[in-house]
């Protein structure tokens, strides 16, 4: 084992909260080590609804959560311009819905008071005919609708932009690095013991250790002899590889819950379930029942939903704060920053609960606690400082496309991931050669991801640049992508095949619950294309 590295702070967990804390503390001048057992944003963050929203449904429970999350969403929208886009919901009202149109509009009128905080427009009310003019696929018995605006975001890029900025300010960030134990000196936590991607065990000393492990928070806390109780809740989404509608749609489930069909930049997420989860956090399966539960709700407001071909599912576990005797849906999305000194674990802090829209605020409050513990005085600057790629305006996409020999669409997508750094990504002779045509992704971008963005597997490339996220689900690009990444990382031919096989096996687990007739056509083509791999 090599000599331990020394840091002011070690942050455990590379979801959006952990990455946000690492960025915040680095910008305050502290030396930070960030460790993540999988890939950046590969847990709860990546399985979210990909929205930074205020959560109008919390108006029934807790206006403060709505206010805080809309305010913080406003900051995120300003500092991550390249990766956010407007998402406009139609909320149709049907006969016998839990809320009639007047109640629904009242909720939106109240929500409109918060909308300016996140630079969003107020709602409008639509008659049944107007609603069907805006979205002709709505059911015939819709009696009216209201609209609501939110922001969509690529959470994987959001996490990585935070990691990038932390690294740029001196942090050390390690993905595929699992914490095995906490180092202790009597009643004080003094660092972590971890295993890196090469299997080697190392130690890092830190004056403060922050537990930002999301649903794994209780597991890390136990290492410090502390107890943090969560009420983990499983959330499932169905993923369609297209925008089904330009307007996102909400629907009421059979048990009265609000579900969303969210139109993102080139795909649609339909979800989510919200069920208490007691299983293995590292292996969250999607059940066909859960898929049917979601489709049943949307069939009522959007009857043609079953004619569309989903390409996969996602499943994640929310790290909700513990509360007894409440339905999952009624649980608060509040968060708690816990200093474990009273538990006999000095120098150990946990951040638990919360939601993506409030990640920056959660990071700020956690960093404030850490700075107090260290006696370090420096203000938080994350609310106003742009994330990497947002320091200046992007050049017009047709110009970038012409200069780099790619289509305007490819240039637009590249800018959505890298902002004003897009041209630098294409400083490579392979700039115009496409690997993934659905997204689209060039060889140069993929090579850049392997070289500069800590991509170590094809699944990492899916998260970093959207590899295989489109309609072919990797059928057409996975082998070529393995060759590009493999040449950067020095993989042998066997390692390239293994990487492709591992990716396809993982993708299959998410796809199996939603394969319909058209899905099988896709599947058979992919199986044929990869037959050589599976023998």
């Amino acid at each position: 084992m090599s000599a331990p590295s020394a840091h002011d702070v070690c942050v455990i967990g590379g979801g959006v909260t952990g990455a946000g804390i690492a960025r915040d503390l680095s910008l305050r001048g502290l030396s930070v080590l960030l460790v993540e057992k999988g890939d950046w944003g590969g847990g709860t963050t990546g399985s979210s609804s990909w929205m930074i929203h205020g959560g109008p449904r919390y108006l029934e429970f807790d206006w403060d959560t709505t206010r805080l999350s809309t305010q913080d969403a406003g900051y995120i929208v300003s500092m991550a311009r390249n990766m956010v886009y407007r998402v406009v919901f139609i909320i149709p009202v049907l006969p016998h819905d839990r809320n009639n149109i007047e109640r629904m509009e009242t909720a939106m009128e109240v929500y409109d008071r918060f909308q300016p905080l996140k630079h969003a427009h107020p709602h409008v009310r639509l008659t049944a005919e107007e609603a069907r003019q805006v979205e002709p696929g709505l059911a015939a018995d819709v009696i009216g609708a209201v609209t609501m605006e939110e922001w969509g975001v690529d959470p994987h890029r959001l996490v990585f932009a935070n990691v990038q900025d932390a690294i740029a300010h001196g942090a050390r960030a390690l993905n595929h690095t699992r914490v095995l134990d906490l180092l202790r000196d009597g009643g004080k936590v003094i660092g972590v013991r971890y295993r890196g991607p090469d299997g080697a065990t190392s130690e890092a000393r830190a004056k403060v250790v922050v537990n930002a492990a999301g649903p794994w928070v209780p597991e890390i806390s136990r290492m410090a002899g502390a107890t943090v109780q969560l009420r983990p809740a499983k959330g499932v989404h169905i993923v369609y590889p297209h925008r089904i509608s330009n307007f996102s749609i909400s629907a009421e489930s059979i048990d009265g819950r609000d579900l969303l069909m969210v139109s993102h930049a080139g795909f649609t997420l339909l979800g989510t379930t919200d069920d208490d989860f007691y299983g293995d956090l590292d292996s969250v399966d999607v059940l066909e029942d859960e898929v049917d539960y979601l489709l049943q709700a949307f069939e009522r407001v959007f009857p043609s939903i079953r004619a569309y071909r989903p390409v996969r599912t996602t499943a994640g576990v929310r790290p909700t704060l513990f509360k007894w005797r409440r339905y999952e849906d009624e649980l608060s999305r509040r968060y708690a920053v816990i200093d474990h000194s009273p538990d006999g674990a000095d120098g150990f802090v946990t951040i638990a609960g919360g939601k993506l829209s409030m990640y920056r605020l959660m990071a700020e409050e956690t960093s404030d606690v850490v700075c107090r513990m260290l006696g370090h005085q420096a203000p938080c600057v994350t609310a106003t400082r742009p994330l990497p790629g947002n320091e200046s305006d992007v050049e017009p996409p047709p110009e970038l496309g012409r200069r780099c020999g790619i289509t305007t669409l490819a240039a637009m997508k590249l800018q959505s991931r890298h902002g004003s750094n897009a041209a630098a990504v294409l400083q490579d002779a392979r700039s115009g050669r496409m690997v993934c045509r659905c997204e689209p992704i060039t060889e140069a971008e993929l090579a850049h991801a392997a070289r500069h963005e800590q991509v170590r597997t094809l699944a990492d490339a899916f998260r970093r640049v959207g590899l295989a996220a489109g309609p072919c689900a990797g059928g057409a690009c996975v082998l070529r992508a393995a060759a590009v990444i493999g040449s950067e990382l020095g993989w042998s031919a066997a390692q390239r095949f293994d990487a492709a096989r591992e990716f396809l096996r993982g993708a299959w687990l998410g796809r199996a619950p939603v394969l319909g007739h058209m899905g099988w056509a896709q599947e058979e083509m992919a199986i044929g294309a990869h037959r050589g791999l599976t023998n």
Binding site: L59, E60, F61, D62, W63, D64, Y85, R86, V88, E102, R103, E105, T106, E109, V110, H121, V124, R125, L126, T127, E130, Q133, V134, E135, P136, G137, P241, H242, R243, I244, S245, N246, F247, A265, G266, F267, S304, A307, Y308, R309, P396, P397, P398, T407, T408, L409, M412, R437, C438, E439, P440, G470, P471, C472, G475, A476, M518, A521, Q522, M525
Partner: protein, 131 residues
Amino acid sequence: MARADSLAKLAFAYGVHLTRRRLTRPRSQVTKLLETYAADGIRPLLKEERERHPQLIGCINCGLCALAAARIGSVRLPDLATSYMRLYARLGEAGSDLSGDSPELEAASAACPVGVPLGEVTAIVRRLAAG
């Protein structure tokens, strides 16, 4: 306590809303909605496009259409049915990629194993990209 407080405030807002509805005449807001979001490329499909939409986005990216007819504008034909149709109305400036001659789209559609009507796909992408 927070919940009781929230429900009380919502109840008050509901009373205000009902009173306002009684005192004012409702006006159509659909034009305002469409104008507000046109700049973001958020535009509705037509009724007939909606009915055909599941077929229009059925491409599985096998590439057979490219053998029958290679490109439309600067876009390889399978990319039209996959990446351009993924976004459809949010195409913005990417509509310029499609300017130019249309190839033998009927022959390309005949080669498609899942029956994507590429002529219709071209028409809808061009219409929505033009705004």
